[in-house]
Each structure stands twice: as C-alpha cells, then as structure tokens.
Symmetry: C2
Subunit: 334 residues, 2 copies
DNA sequence: TTCTCTTGACGAAACGTTTAGCTAATCGTT
DNA sequence: AACGATTAGCTAAACGTTTCGTCAAGAGAA
C-alpha cells in the first residue's frame, strides 16, 4: 500500500510536506498542497493510522464493551455511541463480554493494547466486580454506564432506575389494581436491585404488601422469564398486573401470555422497563419506560472527551431521568 | 504506559527476549519467560498493537460496514461476526453507512487507514454502487454480504432471496388464499428485487395475477410501511394475506393492523422475511423466513481469512438457503 | 553592504515493536 | 583437543508517521 514516501516522490516534495498538507498543522503553499492532494488521489493513499498513532501518541479508537449487542437497549446504545463518535472523527471498536466479569477484564486490556483513546464499559457484574474495573484501565480513560454502582472510582452514567420502576408501578396502580407482580432481574446487579427497590417502595407508599408468590426473579433473559411468567399466570390468585424489569424478560412474559391464551390488558396489565422499536407493533401496543439512551451515550462520550483532554477531576456521576411511554397494555382489573 | 523496554529492564533481559516470550516465535528458557511474565504482570504491561502492527504489517482489526445496527438482522450479523472474530483473536471495528453509498466509500478508506486485515461490507446501494466497491478497497480484502449483486469483483455471501420469498408466499397460498399482497422493498436494491421476483413467480406458478393495488413498495423502514399497510387494509377489496419483504416493514405493517383494529390471522394472514427475537412474543406468534445469519457470518469470515492468507483466486459467491419458520400468523381466509 | 526576521520547505530523530543476523556458550563427534 | 552444530539470548535495523530544529531565500532595517 502506498506510503507518504510514495506520495512525496510523486508530488516532488518531502515527506514532511505531505504530512503538513494533511494535518494542516503548519503552512504549506497552495501550489504544493494541490500537487500533494493530486498525488494522494492518484495513488489512493490512505495514511497509516498505526504509524501516526504510534508516533503522535494519539488514537482515534474508542473502545465499547458491553454484555450482548442483541439486546435492543444495548443495540441502541451502540448505535448512538457510534454515531456520535463518528461525528467526532473517532472509530468504535467492539468488545462483547457475554455477561462475564472475567472477560471484561480481558477486554479492557484488549482496548489498552489497541491504545484506544478511551473506553466505555457497560459492566455486567456485581458491585464487587465493578469496583475492580478502574484498576484494569491503568491510564486509559474508562467510563462505566448503566449497571454502574457508586464509588467504583470511575466516571459513571446511569439512569434513575428507582424512578423508572416507580413510574411503571404508579402507572399500573393508577388503574386501580389492588397489587402487582414483579419479574425482577438478577439480584447481584445494581440496576435490578434498584428497580426492585423502586417497585416495592411504590407499593409500600400505597399501603400494599405484595404477596411473596407474586415476587419473582428472572435473569434478564427470555427463557427464564417465560417460565416465570407461566408460573405467575398459572397461580390460583393470578396477579392482575405485572411489572417486568427489562425488555428481554418482557419477550418471555409476553410469550407466556400468548401460550396461556390470555389477553392483554383485559386479563392482565403489563408494563416494563426498556422501550424498543417493536413495542408499537403489538396489539395492544406495550407501555414501557424509556431509558434516555442517546443522552447516556452523549454523557459517556463527554466524560471520555474530558479525560482524553487530560482532566484529572474526581470521578463524577450523571444520573438521567427515564420517561414513561404510555400505550395500551395497562387497564383496570376485571 | 509501560513499554517492552520497561519490562525488559525490570526482568533483566533484552527487549527481544520480551517479544519472544510473548509471541512464542523463538525459544526462551522457562526461567526467563517466567521473569518476563512476572514483570509484565507487575507493570500491567499491554503490548502496543499499533507498534506491533506497524512493524509486522499484520493487523488484528476486522472492519465491519453496515447500513444500520438497530435493524435486528444487522444486529444479529454484527453479533455473529464479532463472536467469531473474537474467537479468532480479532477485533471488530464498526462503520455505519446510514444507507448512503457515498459514506460507504469513505468508510472503506477509513478501514484501510486503520489497516484492517480485512473488511466485511453490507452494501446499501444499487448494483452500480456495489460495482465500485472493489476499487475503493485497493489491496485490503473486502467481502460483500447480503445486498450483493453478482459480478462486482468481490467475494460475496448472500441468502437465496428468491427462495425466501417463495417459501413465504407458498406458505400463505397453502391456506387457500386466492391471492396475496406484497409490501416490497426499494427497487434499486438487489435483495428487494429478488424477493419481489420470488413473490411474483410463485403467484404466477399458481396461475394468479396479483392486483396492482395489492403490490406496494416500502423503503425497508417502519413509517413508510405503516402508511402503506394502512392503505392496503383500507382498500375496498382488502387482501386476505400480506407478504412483507423485511423485518422493519413488518413492524410498520403490524402497527397498521393494530391501528386498523384488525386481528391476525383471522382478518388477515401475514408472513415476512427476517426472523427476530420478538416474533415469538406476539399473539399469534409471527411466521417468518429466517436468514442463515450465522452461516453468512462464517462464510464471510472464511473468505476474509483466505484472502488475508494471500489467496488470489477469482472472486467467489456463496448463496445460502433460508428457512421458513412456521408460527401462527397465517390461516385460511374467512 | 550587512544583519536580522520571516517564510516555506526539508532532514532526521523518535515512537514501540518485530525480526534478521550475530555472539557466546554448550554439546556431541571425531 | 579441536571441530562444527545447536542453543539462548542479544544488537540493531527497520516499519510509516509526526515534529523539532535547520536552512535557504527574500524582505526590511541599520
């Protein structure tokens, strides 16, 4: 592949001039610049980012580490981060942790190896796992998003998960339900504990003590939630409403509803955290709590930009507000 | 950040020995190797991929260029490519073209700049656009997937789109529908023309001449398909079945069905190309044609691996078979 | 005229690796 | 004992950029 040397020879200038023409760092006469550009075009020259990164110590790469791209919440986050990064002339490199805290450590090291200018991680682990993250990053800027507890020594961006659960639960109760069931997420995760807390606190505020058989736990994935949903729907004292803690488990619960031959919201009301494109395609369309995904992406990249620019401020935390998207999956109990 | 020099000093060996310990290229005594590893661990050393790539001329980066990550078909493709790439010690770097052929050219150049070992592109353009792609790639291996016409001078991986449309259409007709409507994709795209062709050919084989007002075209996106779906459902001679050409448009059509207050499959049967996780959560669950996404990812990476290894064979094409996933969204007409 | 400044371009060192070529030590043959 | 082979490790030269310091030519001042 053509190098600056080739370009320089063809344009009859020095390598330094080619570099200057491209970077615009120092002045080059219009005449020479034109010759250089013509040579670049003719040779199809593309500057070697490895060489330039090595010499300059700067990198256009942004690492993005998350548990699983196929979850629409993560998908949308990747989309937003990539769009904003590209607009800033940066390129996203992907690491998938598969919900495994140990591979997160490896992936951070991988990003370090590629000399990513900074990395955004969506941790999958417990608080203990998360607090080790900063140590792996060494001097690479690292910001934790979504499942990020406080006090882990990193800039963090989170949604107000308690509020999100409250919004959904209040909405359910506003239809006059005497109580509600929950399909919660794994208890070691910060986000699911927060959502669980928000749910319970809301019931409590309404003077409701939920039945223990209505408090179920999933693993944030489809199959388990479907099983749990079936159990819930098969109960003698079947709940009249269910709060589901994330989108994957909502798939499972909706599948359970279909299998049980029940109708939403006639037989059962449903509200979940995580909005997603398909929610409008259901009949009735599904009521969800929308996470401010793009704002989270923007905040994360903002932190990264500051750190890349050299900020040594104390780690900060941004908490963003969710938004209830009312559709038709909740109604008064029969 | 620590370099090999630091490691070498701490371990009391030369840089070359550190390099050898890591690469395993030449023999290093167990004793020294251990000292080196200990030093690496102590310093948290992560080898500089830019330096190593520059010197060796090899890269662990794989470029992946696609129109839009949020479409579940692409999402799953990213997932599968990334998983297989990671298993092979490679890292995926992302380029999103936003359905714009001009930005595809830029993104290919970007991947060249990063010295990606090879790049997979899912072109969004017309045949004319696609045939220019090979020129942009210069000497970087490039394979085109999905919307890839023949004869563009690149290794290509496609699904048999005609067959996919046939499968769905035959399934619809097997319930005794007299005809069917189609919501087709944009006509400049190879894939949508193929699907359209498969649909029409199947009707023809059954001696059916479709009504022109039942032949609609969307743009592979939600809103337009919803509008088109509403038109179709509002027709005096409303179709009894609709074939939808991709998953995004299926969202739109399902939304239209919900708005129109119709019931699937009682009032209307629906089958679409592209399976997706939510299909099972609908009641009734949606019948779709599944693309062999993981096999496509494997084939694309296979081509890339061969080219990276230096193969100069003629460009090849692999066409994979789709699979009909029968669920409950099709039934006999009323 | 001579000196200093400015301007536009260049030469060369350095970034952190890989790797070819070398050296010194060890070993088995003869 | 002397020889080449083999082995374990080292030295140093790249890779393709960026960037600092240099330089020649011309302008302005003394």
């Amino acid at each position: 592949m053509a190098t600056m040397k080739d370009v320089a020879r063809l344009a009859g200038v020095s390598i330094a001039t080619v570099s200057a023409s491209l970077s615009g760092a120092s002045f080059v006469s219009p005449e020479l610049k034109e010759r250089v550009l013509a040579a670049i075009d003719e040779l199809g020259f593309a500057p070697n980012a490895m060489a330039s990164g090595l010499k300059s110590g700067k990198s256009a790469l942004i690492g993005l580490i998350l548990p699983d791209i196929t979850n629409p919440f993560y998908t949308q986050f990747v989309h937003d981060v990539q769009r904003r990064a590209a607009a800033a002339g940066r390129t996203v490199i992907l690491g998938v942790s598969d919900d495994d805290a140990r591979s997160e450590a490896k992936l951070i090291r991988l990003m370090r190896s590629h000399r990513a200018a900074g990395t955004i991680i969506l941790p999958s682990g417990s608080e203990g796992d998360c607090s080790k993250l900063a140590g792996y990053a060494d001097d690479m800027p690292l910001v934790a998003v979504d499942n990020a507890p406080t006090g882990i020594g990193l800039d963090t961006v989170v949604m107000d998960n308690r509020l999100a659960a409250e919004l959904a639960t209040e909405h359910i109760l506003s239809f006059g339900h005497q109580s509600a069931a929950i399909v919660a997420g794994p208890s070691h995760r910060f986000v699911s504990r927060e959502r669980h807390y928000g749910f319970e606190a809301t019931l409590e505020r309404h003077g409701i003590t939920p039945l223990t058989e209505h408090m179920r736990r999933g693993d944030f994935h489809v199959e388990e939630a479907c099983k749990v949903g079936l159990e819930l729907l098969g109960l003698a004292n079947r709940p009249t409403a269910i709060f589901v803690s994330n989108n994957q488990m909502l798939i499972g619960v909706m599948q359970a509803v279909a299998v049980a031959g029940l109708s939403v919201p006639r037989d059962i009301s449903i509200a979940a955290i995580d909005d997603f494109p398909w929610a409008v395609a259901f009949s009735p369309a599904l009521t969800t709590v929308r996470q401010p995904i793009d704002a989270m992406a923007a905040a994360a990249l903002g932190f990264l930009t500051d750190r890349i620019a050299g900020s040594t401020a104390e780690p900060q935390r941004i908490m963003l507000r969710p938004e209830l998207v009312v559709r038709q999956s909740c109604a008064p109990p029969r």
